[in-house]
């Protein structure tokens, strides 16, 4: 393949750019690892598997169309993937990335990034949203969790984990919730969004839910996971004998920005145990069975959210896991065996 790496001047940006964009000649193996996170030899396979190798146009190039339907930019398929991976893997601004990506304008790079982002999201979100896709491996996951050191009689076939992470983002100050490009309004404040996901023992994320404002986010995201994902997950992935689903959180990381950390922290992630009347770490759960005879009359405020779900489930006893001085996590376990252990 003959390519020219001679630099030509871009009159639009003043940045030198390559005359002919070539992935093979422009990036070394080390640069591929550093900027694209993949081996150079596998990039063409990844391009093909992501269905980015052919845009459907006669020349195979990806084109970015403006609002009038006019193609503004044309990209080689590998260029789209390279721009996307370099953007995702680095904290640099677009203006700094442009030189590494071969020159050109930042607007063109943003267009290539949006093409790849939209394409991957549209074509492959089903790999994570279809939660029952790997149900045939449920026994393998449960056996893997057991082999990692969890007593099997305590975990009745649980094969995946659920957790929520908080992603801090900037919120542009707006007027009436509309973005205004005026000088004094270009300020930001921090917001937090929550993403919930189900993690498999083999290291693949099975599901991702988001985004929710993080001030009360964890509860909302978990509730969404419970309502949408767990019924189908339980029906297909868990063994029939499964009586136990559990969630993990890390309460100390989730400090809301208002109301003071201690007060909000307690309000959000701690609740009063009806058995001991002590404040204990709070977690949420989905319980299979009819729990109604064992429910207390006065519900802790946070558990009230789950009242309708818990009421119809046949579990005999519940206890909280964790203590005031253990910030690593908290578990609420419901297991019918606990009734016999007292």
């Amino acid at each position: 393949m003959t390519c020219s790496l001679a630099c030509v001047r871009s009159w639009a940006t003043g940045i030198n750019r390559v005359a002919i964009w070539s992935f093979e000649n422009m990036y070394s193996e080390t640069e591929c690892w550093e900027w694209f996170r993949f081996p150079k030899a596998r990039m063409s396979e990844i391009l093909r598997e992501l269905k980015l190798h052919d845009s459907g146009c006669p020349d195979g190039k990806w084109r970015f169309y403006d609002s009038r339907g006019i193609a503004q930019y044309a990209f080689e398929p590998m260029q789209v993937l390279v721009v996307f991976l370099a953007r995702m893997s680095s904290l640099n601004t677009w203006s700094r990335l442009v030189r590494f990506l071969g020159g050109g304008s930042t607007t063109a790079c943003k267009a290539a990034f949006s093409i790849a982002l939209e394409h991957i999201f549209v074509h492959f979100r089903g790999t994570m949203s279809d939660i029952t896709r790997w149900s045939a491996e449920a026994d393998v996951w449960a056996a893997a969790v057991h082999a990692a050191g969890v007593a099997y009689d305590m975990l009745c076939g649980v094969g995946s984990y659920v957790d929520v992470v908080v992603v801090h983002v900037m919120r542009t100050i707006t007027t009436n919730m509309k973005y205004e490009a005026k000088r004094t309004l270009f300020q930001h404040e921090f917001r937090s969004l929550a993403h919930g996901g189900i993690q498999l023992p083999l290291g693949r994320k099975l599901s991702s839910r988001g985004q929710r404002c993080a001030r009360r986010c964890t509860r909302r995201v978990l509730r969404r996971i419970h309502r949408r994902d767990f019924p189908s997950l339980r029906a297909s992935c868990f063994r029939p004998a499964a009586r136990l689903l559990w969630l993990l959180q890390e309460p100390r990381r989730e400090i809301p920005e208002r109301g003071g950390p201690e007060r909000s922290h307690r309000r959000l992630f701690w609740t009063r145990s009806w058995a001991t009347r002590r404040w204990v770490p709070f977690a949420t759960l989905e319980i299979p069975g009819a729990y109604a005879p064992f429910l207390p009359r006065r519900w802790p405020p946070l558990l009230r959210v789950w009242r309708s779900g818990i009421r119809s489930l046949p579990v005999y006893h519940a206890w909280f896991q964790g203590s005031d001085d253990s910030p690593a996590g908290c578990i609420l376990v419901v297991n019918e065996r606990c009734a016999h252990r007292g």
């Binding site: 893997s89 994570m128 992603v167 969004l193």
Partner: protein, 92 residues
């Protein structure tokens, strides 16, 4: 805490860290989704960005499992479960 609860807690502590590793893998490889000054709500599709970053993390796990070791990342290595091939994951 009863002895049963203590035993449960100690046995679970060895594996629950794997949950956090999953989020670590996303932020380690795709730093863009972990940089709050770049993520501007109402200006960028942040949820879509994180979703795609998680997909690409899974893609990398599958690629690394074929490239270097049979596991692909530290979570799969800890639990001893191999991920599928890249084609099976994306199109299976």
């Amino acid at each position: 805490m009863t002895p049963q609860q203590a035993a449960f807690s100690s046995s679970m502590s060895a594996v629950r860290i794997g949950v956090e590793w999953g989020f670590m893998l996303v932020c380690r490889d795709w730093a863009f989704v972990d940089y709050e000054k770049n993520l501007k709500i109402w200006k960028q599709p942040i949820a879509k960005l994180y979703h795609v970053a998680a997909i690409m993390t899974n893609v990398k796990t599958c690629v690394m499992a074929q490239e270097h070791d049979p596991y692909g990342n530290l979570i799969a290595n800890k639990f001893g479960v191999s991920p599928p091939s890249l084609h099976d994951y994306l199109h299976g």
